[in-house]
Amino acid sequence: MDGFQEYFGEIHSMVRQTVRKFVEREIRPFVDDWEEQGEFPLELYAKAGDAGILGIGYPESYGGSAGDTFVKIAATEELMRCGSAGVAAGLGSLDIGIPPILALGTEEQKSRFIPPVLRGEKIAALGITEPNAGSDVANIQTRAVKKNGHYVVNGSKMFITSGARANLLTCAARTGGEGSGGVSLLVMESDTPGYSVSEKLKKMGWWASDTAQIFFDDCLVPAKNLLGEEGQGFYGIMENFQNERLQLSVMANMTAQLALEESLKYAQEREAFSRPLSGFQVTRHKLADMATLVEASREFTYRVAAKMDAGKNQVKEISMAKNFACTVSDRATYDAVQIHGGFGYMREYLVERLYRDNRILSIGGGTQEIMKEIISKFIFESKK
């Protein structure tokens, strides 16, 4: 081994190859059609389940295969190479839907809900955001009232990834009074009477991912679907955010990486004023900056991931990593389109999609501003 700490070893490299092969065989040839159609076929879940990709990072007892954080990172990076963050987000919605079940659920709940999702037979999603409460999670309005062994749920969830097709929704609802202490998490099954779903929402990017609004109209949810205790929801949601933010940082870094790779290729092929674009110092320097930022951001994310993997509290650092990665991918996708000139504005070029897909990353999983709120709280309070 080299004389410094590497994050990836042989197992990671093998996982990478498996996912790369999966992407080449099952996704890449069809991905442009899926983007235009606004979803990928349901059977992709089962195929990814079969190949063991969905189960990465989950306990074997529920059909997963535990590996460290970097196994998950390697898999996400390779999945992003399909060129559609929407496919990665859609296949990946279980990674925000399942962890709260794992963290707060009973043995019975875990073995009921998790295995079919890891096999790709059922789709899991997470429902926190509402039409009137996004960043302000403590202010959600969806109500769950306990009655005869059931919760009667009324309200609505907005912008839910995989929402149009999810079978299981890990859902935040108010069981108590105002504020964060009144929030609980329930697993809602889509075939529950009173549960309905909007058309797929039309959006700027992530076209291959179905995003929907979900409505609860006197939805009768068995009380045994409550995760943990009443009032534990807010805590569960906040814990879950750390891993989601890590995943989003990795997605942002990969978006920037792909933008860089595409631009490097294009700058060497395209000629203007009788030389390749790479012959202009201004282009070369732009690419040098891009490469530098991507490298720095990726290393920062890896470092934070390594600490998270070791069980250290990284709430501040992962917020920083997400913001930094998103700033880098904003810049990289902008510059990549610029280097591509008019072609960069055309659908046939990957950078056009990267530019659109990138925009959500600094909004979802906690906005840029909310990350800064978290970071500033830490830096003002930590005098120790």
Binding site: E10, I11, S13, M14, T18, D50, A51, G55, S65, V71
Partner: protein
């Protein structure tokens, strides 16, 4: 039935190949190494036969340490054990020498079938399979797209495509088969498989372990010498055939094919 699969590690076909300063080898610094795709077909076929007939699958790889990763990939797919033939003296060996070392590594194993790829996607020579079979004195079937082993596990029927037809051959076992694209769709090495592979036996053998004389291997012993590597010629610009009518264009095309391309 026991099956041996020979496995070579080659540059990922997506790698950018650059010729080294010596003009005879490629630059390997930035290369991603993967299992030769034709060997994946061999591994998959061996696993399917094992699932049907029972027995064990052993993968044998030859090369530097990094080849263990490809062997482990085959173990992760479901093979039972691995052998890595690795020795500094093997550096620079040609196909004949490599085949000799592999044959020595497998000759005392109990096997019914051996799979190799029909060729390596790196040098495209296709010599190793035939040479191993020759050295072991067993029949060899190359470029095979279908394999059926008899119920009693004593004979095999294989299919080889030939110019739009299929050649069906039957043979007793043991035999060696070189795998061609179309034989099957290889499975993925899943993470659970990858975790299990860590615990499967992987033996490493040097030339001395195999009772071989290192003087017969390496650059100095090559029978096949590489004089020079050159990149493929740049593709010339296409030509648009001029003419007012289809007849005129056809006549012009015929003339070009005759005078310039010299194919008519």
């Amino acid at each position: 039935m026991n099956i041996i699969v020979c496995l070579k590690q080659v540059p990922d076909t997506e790698s950018q190949i650059k010729i080294g300063p010596d003009g005879k080898s490629i630059v390997t610094d930035d290369i991603k190494w993967v299992m030769n795709p034709y060997d994946e077909f061999g591994v998959e076929e061996a696993l399917r036969l094992k699932e049907k007939h029972g027995g064990e699958v052993t993968v044998v790889g030859l090369g530097p340490k990094r080849v263990t990763e490809s062997i482990r990939t085959a173990l992760a797919m479901g093979a039972d054990k691995g052998i890595l033939v690795s020795d500094e003296a093997l550096d620079g060996s040609d196909s004949l020498a490599n085949a000799k070392a592999i044959a020595a590594a497998v000759k005392d194993l109990d096997y019914d079938l051996i799979f190799t790829g029909q060729r390596g996607v790196d040098d495209d020579l296709g010599l190793v399979g035939a040479t191993i079979a020759e050295l072991l004195g067993i029949p060899q079937f190359s470029i095979i797209v279908k394999v059926e082993v008899a119920e009693d596990g004593k004979s095999v029927k294989v299919e080889r495509p030939i110019e739009g037809e299929a050649l069906i051959i039957e043979s007793n076992l043991p035999a060696l088969i070189t795998a061609q694209k179309g034989l099957n769709e290889p499975r993925y090495a899943s993470l659970p498989g990858i975790m299990k592979a860590k615990k499967k036996p992987l033996e490493e053998k040097t030339l001395a372990d195999l009772g071989l004389d290192s003087a017969e291997f390496g650059e100095g012993a090559r029978k096949l010498k590489i004089l020079e590597l050159t990149p493929p010629p740049e593709r010339a610009a296409g030509k648009i055939v001029e003419g007012e009518t289809p007849q005129e264009k056809a006549a012009e095309l015929a003339k070009l094919l005759h005078d310039e391309a010299k194919v008519l």
